[in-house]
Every structure is written in C-alpha cells, then in structure tokens.
C-alpha cells in the first residue's frame, strides 16, 4: 500500500513535469490538442462512473456539460464582452454584472450540473436499461432546447464568444486541465476502492442481490449520477474556456457519442483504460481530420470527404463492441501484461 502511494506520487510529479516541458516547447496547436486530452479524460471518467461502474446507461452527458460550460462562460466573461455578445436581446442585468475568478466559476459550473443531475436523476433513475438511456437523452435535449430559448441568459442560438482562456505564453495552460484531470483520476480511484464505490459496482452486477444486502438502490444511483454530473459539469466548463466559444449545437447527442466511444473503448468500469482511450481518441480525432479533406494519393487528389472521419470512428465503435466485449484497451493492456509476466 505505502509503496504504491509513493510510486503514484512520483508518477504524478513526473507527469506534471512533462506537462510543463510540453507547455514550453511544443507549438500552440499541439498544446491545444494535449489540453483537450486532459479535458476528455475528465469527461470519459465522469461517464464511466455512471455507465461503467454503476451500470446506469445514461446518454445525457452533453446536457450536463452544457450546463457546466454555460455557467463558466457567464461567470467569467467580462461585462463588456457580454454586452457585445447580447446584441439581439440584452442579458439579464443580474447575470450581466456577475463575475468571478475562474476556479469559483468552475466549481459553480460543476455544482449547477450536479444540481440538475440530482433533480433529473431522482425521477429518472427509477427506470432501467434502455428506458433510462432514452429518458436521459431526452433530458439532455430538453436542456439544449431550453438553452436555445433562454436568449436573455444564454444568448440563444448565437452562442457566447470571447470566453476568457487560461493561457501561459499565449498557449493553453496545461496545468489547469491536466491538474484537474489528475485530481479526478485520484478521486475516482479512492471512490471506487471505498465502500461506496463497491456498493456502486454491486448495483451494476446484480440489483436484486444488492438491495437484498441492504443497499438502498435509489440513494446510491442518485449519488453516482449526481457525482458524475458534477464531473461532467467541470469537464464542460473547462471545454468552454479552452474553446473560447460555445453555442447550443456543440452539445448535441454527437458529443455524448464521442465520450461513449472513449468509455467503451477504454472498458466500462476501467479507470486506466479510459485515461488511455481518452488521450488516444482525442489525438486520433485531430490527426484524422485529414480524412475529411482532399487526400493526395500521388497520382490523383480526391475531393474533400466530409464525414469520413466519423464513419471511421463509428465503425471502430461497432467493431470493438462486436468483437471485444470488455473494451479494446483493457484487453490489449492485459495481453501486454500477460507477455510481460511470461518473460
């Protein structure tokens, strides 16, 4: 136990060191992508808590992210920027003048998402399996539609531009996104090793047995869902500051799909697998952007192929589900470990 803790602390220090070096030496584009990786780690883990560890198949992630993103945007944007954004319909004066440091805004974003998670979860979590999936998806869409319509608070479909970014040397400051990501990785490990985390897993394994062992299903499901929503809100808030611009179309079901992809590939209920898959998929999504553009095959240049990238990713998701039940990364890691052990 003790040895492990020391090892982990050294590992974290090492990662932080590498991040600082990357922040200094890599160009702006690369740092931006790495920054996104950190954010997607948070998002993948937050969905994994609900879907992977507790076995609640929720598809409402984009909605909670939207709440976190808008809260952070509204609380951090300077008054002048807000006034410029809200040229169609003025912003509610109370919110117009509300402003706070980033860290408080981020926590507020998480808490807002958690509050909605709690309010939505309480009625919806009585449902099971695919009914839960469709109800959470429904709520996520309702949140988005409300955001479109509450023009004096969210600026409606025009979105918000000029959200202050967290930069260092004009590049995204990796210590924010990754620092919080590391914090959440530690948090998830501690949570899942403890009694509550194990109760979540028991619910995933067998609800009937779990409640006969005295586990209050409803209370634990709402707890897991609320914590997951909080983390999704944090992830959404970080996404808002790193993009600098948000609008309701970003928070469609496609966003939930991307995160689901990471959770499934990394393995449901697997923390390390999800960290790896979040990084790999975020980088791949960027690296494979060329697929949507004209491709030079040497002898001929194809015309632009928008959609090809997402075709590839949807295919990967389906193939992984069909051929490897427990997640691609987990299986690969186990194979590598097996080889290691034999030598």
């Amino acid at each position: 136990m003790k040895k492990n803790t020391v090892f982990n602390i050294i590992l974290i220090a090492l990662v932080l060191g590498i991040l600082i070096l990357m922040n200094v030496f890599l160009d702006n584009y690369k740092v931006t992508v790495i920054n996104l990786c950190g954010i997607y780690i948070i998002l993948a883990l937050s969905m994994n808590l609900i879907n992977g560890f507790t076995g609640l198949f929720s598809l409402g992630h984009a909605g909670f992210m939207a709440i976190g993103a808008y809260t952070v945007a509204i609380l951090t944007m300077p008054v002048a920027t807000k006034e410029m954004n809200f040229y169609m319909k003025p912003m509610v004066p109370f919110l117009l003048n509300l402003n706070m440091p980033f860290i408080f805004a981020l926590i507020s974003g998480g808490l807002m998402a958690a509050l909605f998670g709690f309010l939505i979860g309480a009625p919806v979590l009585k449902l099971t399996d695919d009914y839960l999936a469709i109800a959470t998806l429904g709520f996520s869409e309702i949140i988005r539609i409300v955001i479109v319509n509450l023009q004096s608070i969210t600026n409606g479909s025009l979105g918000l531009k000029g959200i202050p970014k967290l930069t260092i040397n004009n590049k995204p400051n990796l210590l924010w996104s990754w620092g919080i990501a590391i914090l959440i990785i530690v948090f998830m490990n501690v949570l899942m090793k403890g009694s509550y985390g194990k109760a979540f897993k028991a619910i995933r394994e067998d609800e009937i047995a779990a409640r006969s062992m005295g586990i209050n299903l409803f209370k634990h499901k709402v707890l897991s869902f609320t914590i997951g929503s909080f983390l999704a809100g944090i992830g959404g808030g970080l996404l808002a500051t790193s993009l600098g611009t948000i609008d309701p179309t970003q928070f469609k079901f496609a966003l939930t799909f991307n995160i689901l992809l990471m959770v499934v590939l990394g393995g449901m209920g697997n923390i390390n697998g999800n960290v790896v898959s979040a990084i790999v998929i975020t980088i791949a999504m960027e690296a494979l952007r060329f697929l949507d553009e004209p491709i030079n095959l040497g002898f001929t240049v194809t015309s632009a192929l928008p959609g090809l990238r997402m075709v590839v990713f949807s295919l990967i998701l389906m193939l992984v589900v069909i051929f490897k039940k427990d997640g691609f990364v987990k299986n690969t890691l186990e194979k590598v470990r097996g080889k290691y052990a034999k030598n």
């Binding site: 598809l59 449902l127 589900v321």
Partner: protein, 296 residues
C-alpha cells in the same frame, strides 16, 4: 377559428400518421429483441435519399421509384440487423444498444460522405402539390394521401400479423422469446422479416415525409427517429396499435401546441421528450402495454 382548427387537425393527423408508420418499426423490433433500434431513423433517411436519386437520376416513373426505394430500404434494414445486431444476440442489452448507436452514427456520416452534407430539395411529383378544398378548409393533397396510405398499410399489416404463420411467429417471439425459440420457430427468418417490415414502413413514411417537408439532409432521421421511438413508448412498446396511438398523440399534440400556444414554438421539439418523461414516470408500460413481472 373553427376553420383554422380543422386545418391544424388535418395537418396534425398527417404528421401523426407519419410518426405512426415509423414508430411501428421501433415497436416491432423492441417487442422481439428488446432493443431500441437507434439506427431506425437513419434507415428512414436512406429511404428518402434512395427516392431522391431514383427520381432525379433515372427515368423510372415516380410511383415505381417509390415502391422500389421502399423495398430496397426494407432489405437495408435486414442487412443492418445481420451485420450490427445478430452477432451480439445474447449479449447484454446495453452492448447491443451501443452497437445500435454506432450504426446510427455510421449511417449518418456515411450519408454525409456519399450524399453530401448540404440540404437537397425533394423532387415532389406535381400531383401532390395540388390543393384540395373541402367546404371551408383547403389542404395540400399530400395531407389527405398520408392518412389514407397509412390506413391501408395498417390494415395489411394487421392481417399479416394476425393471420399468417410468420405473423404468428412474431407474436410468439415477442410474448416469450425463449419458449418460442424452443418451439422450433425460425428465429433468424422471423427477425429478418420484422426488420424488413419496419424498414419498409419507415421508407414509405420517409417518402411521404419528403413530400410534406421537401428538404433532405443526412441527419434528417435523427429527430423524427427519436420522436417515433417516444411515440412507441407512449403507446406501450411492443404493441403495434399502441405505436399508432402514440404517433397520433405526438403528431397532433405538436401541431396543436404550436398552433394555439405560438409563444412555445421554440419548445416544439422538447414537447415529445417531456411527454416521454411524464409517461415513463406515470405509466412506464405505456398506454397499451402489458406489465411484465420481475423474475427473481
């Protein structure tokens, strides 16, 4: 006021008929496989595009194109089941659901890739644009044709399910999958036919949708797809008459909502989801569904 109301009713009934046609595919598949076929809305989209290409690029008469496109879409549905769902039969339901979500995104993006992301105009045959007046109300012909076609298809479907061997096999499978499979019912065949019928009806719905709302986009199936699933849940998933009822409730509800509460127009798409959540909380089995006891 009265005249206006009748016009909205006509509009709502035709929208409701379309929802009903698409919802049948969801409810039949769910009845047998306990699977939300997420890609059903995208199958609907494929039906519309097939029709578009058939009319625009061939000289085949439009009515033949309509039939051909619907049949081909039916087979596409069967193919989808074979490739994406059949290998996962017996896996946890969530696994199959993920595959279905993957299939849905695959079809949408393949749509962007092949058909292009920009909207296309549906080449509506002239006949349908005719406006018919009955008494005080005047409505486009298509709004009359939609409910009639729907009704005819429902009668045929009902006959098929009640009277034919395959129909009985479907009912048996949705009542008790395991018992039915032990009784020597050809499961693969029955499931394929179920997917064929569901996709065929979705394509018919899609073509009429294209005539009513003549704009094509690769993502056009997503929202109608979700709404029709909701219609199926409202009516009681697994029940065909429930799906039809749910489709009409949703279609009429939506149209009347924006007609009489215009300030809520922006929330039109939220209406279905709110209705869904209310139904799930008040009567999770839907209006016409049966309660299934939990086995311990």
């Amino acid at each position: 006021m009265n005249k206006e109301f009748l016009q909205h009713m006509a509009n709502g009934i035709s929208l409701g008929s379309l929802y009903a046609l698409i919802a049948i595919g969801y409810t039949m598949v769910y009845g047998i496989l306990r699977l939300i076929n997420f890609a059903h809305g995208d199958i609907f989209m494929l039906g519309v595009y097939l029709t578009f290409y058939g009319i625009t690029y061939t000289s085949i008469p439009w009515y033949i194109v309509f039939i051909l496109a619907s049949v081909i879409t039916g087979f596409l549905g069967v193919t989808l089941e074979r490739l994406a769902y059949k290998p996962l039969r017996g896996s946890p339901r969530i696994t199959i659901l993920i595959s279905a979500i993957g299939a849905s995104f695959l079809l949408q993006n393949a749509g962007v890739l092949v058909f292009g992301g920009r909207p296309k105009a549906f080449p509506t045959p002239e006949v349908f644009n005719k406006v018919i007046s009955i008494g005080e109300i005047s409505v486009a012909l298509v709004n009359f044709i939609i409910p009639i076609v729907t009704l005819i298809l429902l009668v045929i479907l009902n006959f098929f399910i009640q009277k034919t061997r395959t129909g009985m096999a479907m009912r048996a499978l949705s009542k008790d999958y395991e018992a039915a499979s032990l009784m020597g019912i050809d499961i693969n065949n029955t499931i394929s036919i179920t997917f064929f019928i569901g996709s065929f009806l979705a394509a018919v719905g899609g073509i009429m949708w294209g005539i009513k709302y003549p704009q094509l986009m690769p993502h056009m199936g997503v929202l109608p797809g979700l709404k029709c699933f909701i219609a199926a849940v409202i009516g009681g998933i697994g029940s065909i008459s429930g799906a039809v009822l749910g489709g009409f409730i949703l279609g009429l509800g939506e149209i009347l909502l924006i007609a009489f509460l215009p300030s809520l127009t922006g929330y039109r798409d939220a209406f279905a989801f709110i209705l869904l959540i209310i139904i799930l909380l008040v009567k999770p089995t839907g209006l016409m569904g049966e309660k299934i006891a939990e086995k311990v």
